[in-house]
Subunit: 338 residues, 2 copies
């Protein structure tokens, strides 16, 4: 087997440097992808810093991969050599548990992430189980598709999880890497879209991305102004949120859905759920089928992240740009490895 | 108009004493019910004590009414004189708001409770808007039907709210006035039923009521033993619950549903919702349509509360019995007023 050339950190928060390895023979269920582009997600930074205590070094980040199939195992299904594909957060699931068999592979207890216990997509090639390697439909901009495979599906899946109708009034909290895609999905889904941000400077951009209304949550009355009116709120931020206030902003039967990894427990008032028959929920990324639906929906409606392109050889500059909070809104690496 | 004879408290936590009043002409949308039985719910005690700051005195408790229609306003629909009917927590809703028009009258912002701003069912007659006065199907034991109209529908509605399938594994927390009905509903719904109690003495009874498994939550491992296995948990208690532990007991896509008025904020970990796509929700009583479904389901399956019968003239003894935590499991007053 030929060697794979990648960028790896040798230790916690170490600089990414050229690193080569041989993955051995391709597994029967695996596909090998020649990487053309790979997005950078905030979780790549978290894993680089071992924030979640499950990083191993050398660590090769990257789980928003776009590329071409160059090799297929004998049992790899639904793919062909030369096909343009995408790979997101997950690279393996058992296919046999109740979750996999019911189409919820992202909830499989043995699911493996592309960058946990595996080498990711900051590389010339990456491997994954066929089920997680999704053929890309026509009409997507390949430079912008990587971030949809993790961040995009994370904010798209909740619309399917809750079967949100296009008549819904939808709030999006946080206009960043996830939120700026959520605004687009909500708008193209046919909903009335409310953006919640702490930054007045993002108002014009939020409207351009699909928000019909923009609320600055530094204004103490922002939530009161929409009291009892929203059917669905997606929170994309990872700092504590005002749950009682958000429940108050929900209409009867409204749902607050969190996808941001808030580390402190949320303070949820039982009566705030009971009186209006409301709920607080969460979800992780999306299944292969939901990835496909997200991709074809995006191709049909022209949904795409706002991206900044870096050559992969400048990966350390790109990581620093993200770390500094300057990414608007997602960074994509273009593979310039030999 | 003839006078209504009732039992009323003249002040906060005062003894209930005979009290007569004239409600004037019947409103065009109202039905007047001659009360044969009225359940006592814990919220009657809370209202008697003005625990929620919205009681008015003289206060006539009682919102689990069974009786016969004796008068109907001109616009009262779907009812006829002499019909056997039930009346629960709600006695009025606007019928015209989005919630009412979509069949969720219990979520109407202007809904009126039978015992808030109105005189309740500890009386020979009580009035309510026609929509909330539900004809009782054949086959119900009228002595036991009152408690189903508030407590019963409160634990029945969540099965419809979440569209719980009979294949679900269901947990019921708290085997009391609400929980002992929830066990029966879950069993007759076709589910695998798990009872959670702090009292070993309730195990045999929980099984008789429909539990397939009984867990004592004073045992620290009780929730761990069912880790990742339950699809739906209904919490009927009003003291703080171990939300992280309960989320851990849920299978992927599991739902924790609270109907008990826990006053302290629940501590809900965002990651506990996200990883398994779980939710925490709540709901209040049920709509007229859900009341009807609950009543016919109960008649078909023989669901009924375990009750203790008191004559209405012994209402103070009955209230004291409930206050002392001795009710097993619901008290019903039989009208012996002249």
């Amino acid at each position: 087997m030929s060697q794979i050339h990648a960028y790896a950190a040798m230790n916690v928060n170490g600089a990414l440097e050229p690193y080569a390895y041989d993955l051995g023979e391709l597994g029967p269920e695996e596909a090998e992808i020649k990487v053309s582009h790979c997005g950078i997600c905030h979780s790549d930074l978290s894993m680089l810093g071992n924030d979640w205590g499950m990083s191993a070094y050398p660590f090769v980040p990257g789980h928003e991969v776009v590329g071409t199939i160059v090799a297929l195992g004998e049992q790899a299904k639904g793919l062909k050599i030369g096909q343009t594909v995408g790979l997101g957060w997950s690279a393996y699931s058992c296919l046999a548990c109740p979750e996999c068999l019911s189409g919820n592979h992202n909830l499989c207890a043995t699911t493996q992430a592309t960058i946990i216990g595996r080498h990711g997509g900051f590389a010339d090639r990456v491997r994954a189980q066929w089920a997680w390697v999704r053929p890309l439909p026509e009409g997507l901009d390949l430079e912008k598709t990587g971030p949809m495979l993790c961040g995009g599906v994370t904010v798209f899946a909740p619309f399917l999880v809750h079967n949100i109708p296009p008549t819904a009034r939808v709030g999006v909290i946080g206009i960043g890497g996830l939120g700026h895609m959520a605004l687009q999905f909500a708008n193209k889904w046919g909903c009335e879209v409310h953006a919640f941000t702490t930054s007045d400077s993002k108002e014009a951009e939020a409207r351009k991305l699909g928000a019909h209304f923009v609320h600055n949550t530094r204004n103490a009355d922002a939530l009161k102004e929409v009291a009892g009116s929203l059917d669905f709120i997606i929170s994309t931020i990872n700092v504590p949120i005002d749950v009682p206030g958000l429940l108050g902003a929900l209409a009867p039967q409204g749902r607050l859905h969190v996808v941001g990894a808030i580390l402190e427990p949320m303070q949820v008032p039982a009566l705030g759920l009971i009186f209006g028959q409301k709920s607080v929920a969460g979800s992780p990324t999306g299944s292969p089928n939901v990835l496909d639906k997200m991709l074809s929906f995006s191709a049909r409606h022209g949904v795409a992240p706002v991206t900044e392109l870096f050559p992969m050889s400048k990966v350390n500059d790109a990581m620093e740009h993200l770390r500094a909070g300057k990414a608007r809104y997602r960074i994509v690496l273009e593979n310039d490895l030999a």
